[in-house]
């Protein structure tokens, strides 16, 4: 599984020249958006900027890893066993597919949430609120840069869904909680959009319950 492969990365702090992972940093969310489609990159970039996120958009998983300083070549000699703050990064998957088995697999592999394309402003806002709240709960100190990665890659193991991930601050990593509020409802007509996100109230989970 691709997620397992990228699960325990060694942090290469010298590579993070764009980010100051310090306690003095404001609580701005920094999103690394990964999507092979230029159109989608542009749209998601705009959506994220509007919700006051700092955005970096790249076109492939490889570039994302390069950007994070986690090139395969460099890490091949080092074991992937060390626990890393990158493991704390919540991953949100974004895809035009709405095949339930695929969605399940993504969530089981540790994805924070799954958004079906096309992504709307409401989706991004909801996710951002959730991420900010999660970090606030997990953080002892104020500050720290949150990074979130949205990714749509078809070359990541054969599955088309995209991945987005977001690291919490280094100082106090928070464990990713289960998916919050709903994605959109093309999956099932029985899905409605609840107004307040609760941790177990993911529409994906509800869909599973209604279908099983």
């Amino acid at each position: 599984m691709a997620r397992n492969g990228t699960g325990s990365w060694r942090r290469r702090s010298e590579k993070v020249d764009g980010f100051e992972f310090s306690a003095a940093e404001s609580e701005e969310v920094h999103v690394l958006a990964v999507d092979d489609s230029l159109v989608d990159r542009k749209v998601i970039e705009r959506l994220l900027r509007i919700t006051s996120c700092k955005v970096t958009a790249v076109d492939s998983g490889r570039r994302a890893l390069q950007f994070l300083g986690l090139d395969e070549e460099k890490n091949s000699s080092v074991g992937f066993d060390e626990s890393s703050t990158f493991k704390q990064i919540p991953v949100v998957i974004m895809s035009s597919e709405n095949v339930l088995t695929r969605i399940d697999r993504c969530l089981e592999e540790g994805a924070e949430d799954f958004i079906v394309k096309p992504v709307k402003l409401a989706d991004v806002k909801r996710l951002r609120d959730y991420m900010t709240r999660e970090v606030k709960m997990g953080n002892e100190e104020s500050g720290g840069v949150n990074k979130r990665k949205l990714r749509d890659s078809f070359d990541l193991s054969s599955s088309p869904p995209s991945i987005s991930s977001s690291p919490s601050s280094l100082s106090s990593p928070s464990s990713p909680s289960p998916s919050p509020s709903p994605s959109r409802s093309p999956l099932s007509s029985s899905l409605s959009a609840p107004s307040s996100p609760t941790s177990l109230d993911s529409p994906i989970r509800r869909l599973k319950m209604t279908q099983h």
Binding site: D36, L38, V39, K42, S96, L121
Partner: protein, 171 residues
């Protein structure tokens, strides 16, 4: 504005993302989309023209065009892309050809609509800008009434510029 079936609420969403700080957003996305979609359609046509179609090689393109058509709100075209996706999953060449035809057809219709919308938006934007400029000119004129000295200065500068213009024209 939105034609029934050709564009849906997602396009409205995109229009909503445009504002004064980003006045060309829709036009930029539309331009990107049209170029992108054309490239992918060309790739797909190439694959489908082969004697034996390599569905697995084609798959990333099928997926990509489905994603971008849905992101721009091109409803009919997205549906056609879904058909192609299903046909490609089923490895059914005949169905794929049909779906690709449909994609081409919808793409042509969509291009016309998108160009029209972008043109209209640009016209509106220009009109609004002119309106704003006119408004500020009125403001400048009222300044002259309130401050006679300003009026004199203004008259001096404008006649100076006028003479400059005359001189350069004669050269």
């Amino acid at each position: 504005m939105l034609e029934e079936g050709i564009l849906d609420s997602q396009f409205t969403q995109l229009q909503g993302l445009q504002d004064e700080s980003n006045p060309n957003f829709v036009a930029e996305v539309v331009t990107l989309f049209i170029k992108d979609a054309q490239k992918i359609i060309n790739h797909l046509s190439y694959y489908m023209s082969q004697e034996v179609v390599d569905f697995s090689e084609m798959d990333p393109y099928v997926h990509q065009i489905k994603g971008s058509t849905s992101s721009i709100g091109a409803r009919n075209m997205t549906l056609a892309c879904s058909d192609l996706h299903q046909a490609s999953d089923a490895k059914n060449k005949e169905m794929c050809l049909q779906a690709l035809n449909k994609i081409n057809h919808e793409y042509c219709r969509l291009q016309v609509k998108l160009h029209l919308i972008v043109q209209l938006q640009n016209t509106i934007f220009t009109m609004e800008t002119n309106e704003r400029l006119r408004g500020s000119r009125y403001a400048a004129m009222s300044m002259q009434r309130r401050f006679p000295r300003f009026k004199v200065l203004f008259g001096f500068i404008s006649s100076f510029l006028f003479f400059q213009l005359l001189i350069t024209k004669h050269k």
